[in-house]
């Protein structure tokens, strides 16, 4: 456990967004995916960005990761402007972004390897984090020999090994079946309980947002703006039975009303943290 606690950096991971706008596409296709968005996230806070497909929540996440540059406003992490991708701001995509040619251990050891950590030491670190996500026995498997849920756990481990200030997650459990998704949500809360990093978690699943977050930022599409911020009052550690509580029901109804955009509306195309749809499918 002592090794894992080393990962926590409780004083770091503050996000300040002031009037952030992000334009995507070029020429006639250009549009404002995010418009004049301001918020602040405390170090160690768990925040969900909730909204329908195409509302710019993934675009905003991509800007936090440094893959997309805002066209206006200020986006700061711990007081400094985000300037390109950095291991301090790790991102977990929906699926299939593990390196297929590396074993689980080698995938997790990638970050330390990039920092020049020696092989024995980086393998030790990778093994430690894989134990944390419950995959200690699967370290030598290639990604395609792992189930979808296991692959996502490796993704989380691969980011956590870098001791990030921010853990950015783009619908990370969206491609999993309902049961696996529930297990992964509990596992994520368990990990976050031990490795207290700031988490920004993008989802369009109201139950997921309510179960996981300290705070939910609800966004509306075209242009992507913040509609409301909801503080989620449930005590931690949380168990899945809170889903059945009346308080949960009330909050869920409120979110549903917020998200209930025009019933005639055609769903907007999915945006990605890379600024375009990188083929993640529906």
């Amino acid at each position: 456990m002592s090794g894992v606690e080393r990962l926590a950096r409780p004083e770091l991971g503050r996000i300040d967004a002031a009037h952030v706008s992000i334009r995507l596409g070029g020429g006639d296709q250009a549009f404002e995916a995010v418009q004049d968005v301001s918020f602040a996230i405390e170090p160690g806070e768990f925040v969900c960005l909730l909204g329908p497909s195409g509302c710019g929540k993934s675009t905003l996440l991509g800007a936090l990761a440094g893959h997309i540059a805002p066209s206006g406003g200020r986006l700061h992490v711990d007081g400094s402007t985000i300037d390109g991708p950095h291991p301090d701001r790790g991102i977990v995509f929906q699926h299939h972004t593990l390196f297929p040619w590396k074993s689980a251990r080698e995938n997790v050891a990638f970050g330390p390897k990039m920092r020049g950590v020696g092989k024995a030491e980086r393998n030790r670190q990778a093994g430690e984090i894989l134990d944390l996500v419950g995959l200690g026995d699967f370290a030598d498997r290639y990604p395609k020999q792992l189930s979808g849920g296991m692959q996502q756990r490796v993704e989380i481990a691969r980011v956590l090994v870098n001791r990030p200030r921010l853990l950015l997650m783009d619908e990370p459990f969206g491609a999993l079946d309902a049961l696996t998704r529930m297990m992964m949500q509990e596992l994520l809360l368990d990990i976050w309980g031990r490795v207290r990093t700031t988490i920004v978690f993008v989802t369009h699943d109201i139950d997921e947002a309510l179960f996981l977050a300290d705070r939910i930022i609800v966004m509306t599409p075209r242009p992507g703006r913040i509609l409301e911020e909801i503080r989620v009052p449930f005590a931690r550690p949380r168990a899945t039975d809170i889903v059945a509580s009346p308080e949960f029901g009330t909050l869920k109804r409120h979110c549903l009303e917020l998200l209930h955009v025009r019933p005639d509306g055609v769903p907007l195309p999915r945006l990605s943290p890379l600024g375009f749809d990188a083929g993640e499918g529906a």
């Binding site: 990761a65 440094g66 893959h67 390109g84 991708p85 950095h86 291991p87 701001r89 790790g90 991102i91 995509f93 299939h96 972004t97 390196f99 297929p100 040619w101 590396k102 990638f110 970050g111 390897k113 990039m114 920092r115 290639y142 395609k144 020999q145 792992l146 189930s147 296991m150 691969r158 980011v159 870098n162 943290p273 890379l274 990188a278 083929g279 993640e280």
Partner: protein, 264 residues
């Protein structure tokens, strides 16, 4: 597992039958001196003649020199093509500027058949050996180059983004992400290139003075030794097939993640 072994055996059986059919059709057509109008077997030697010619060839003192000369030329031309093709392919696939500078002349050179290169190759290189190596090089280059470009361009942008987020530098991403990501496609290009390299061997060795299987085949044609032509053709076919298979096998060893079983 047992099922796949069974289907493996039946597939090998099918392959054997396929070769056997060829070996039956050929003697039948040539002994009957079949004339189908469009094609005629009147002057095609039967397998028995070819077999005897093959034995003569193997027993001749020159056989070893023929084979080793050709192997050496193909190996040299191919090795240079593999290096140049993969290097150029990585550059073109990764950089728009490299693509703009390098692709137009390469596209212009690509449709030129190996035989058309002979005069220029003779002028370009001081030794005929170098000219021959150049022609096998040109034969292998384009499949390797195009497959490498294709492989590099198809590396999932999210893998590259992930690597950047994990602290990967440009050179580390090239080594750790682009190269292995494009590897299956590069291996395919290398295997096809091996085939086309042999394909150009006869052309290359038309300018050879004395040795080489391509030279042997071409010489047999000029002196109307029809059985020997077929011996040369079959030898080139076998060597080409063998070296392509060797390459796919090595490729399989280099891309082990491609062959492991999926999770259920």
């Amino acid at each position: 597992m047992a099922q796949s072994t069974a289907s493996g055996i039946s597939r090998w059986a099918l392959r054997a039958v396929s070769i056997a059919v060829c070996l039956v059709v050929w003697p039948t057509a040539s002994t009957l001196r079949l004339n189908l109008g469009l094609v005629t077997f009147v002057n095609v030697p039967p397998p028995t003649d070819v077999f005897l010619a093959a034995i003569d060839f193997v027993q001749s003192t020159k056989a070893f020199d023929h084979v080793t000369s050709s192997l050496r030329r193909v190996a040299s031309g191919y090795a240079i093509a593999a290096f140049v093709g993969v290097a150029l392919g990585l550059a073109i696939g990764r950089s728009r500027r490299a693509a703009d500078v390098l692709l137009p002349p390469l596209e212009l050179l690509r449709p030129i058949p190996a035989v058309a290169w002979i005069p220029l190759a003779v002028l370009l290189f001081p030794s005929s050996e170098a000219s021959m190596i150049y022609i096998t090089f040109i034969g292998a280059l384009f499949p390797i180059l195009l497959n490498t470009i294709h492989g590099v361009e198809n590396v999932d942008p999210r893998l590259i983004a992930s690597a950047k987020s994990l602290g990967g530098t440009q050179s580390a991403i090239l080594r750790e992400v682009i190269l292995p990501g494009a590897a299956p496609s590069i291996v395919t290009g290398l295997a096809i290139g091996m085939g086309t390299s042999w394909f150009c061997l006869v052309t290359a060795e038309m300018i050879s003075g004395q040795f080489g299987i391509g030279y042997y085949t071409w010489e047999s044609y000029t002196i109307q030794n029809y059985a020997d032509i077929i011996v040369g053709m079959i030898l080139i076919g076998l060597l080409g097939m063998g070296s392509s298979a060797l390459l796919r096998w090595i490729g399989g060893l280099l891309t082990p993640w491609h062959t492991v079983g999926e999770a259920r």
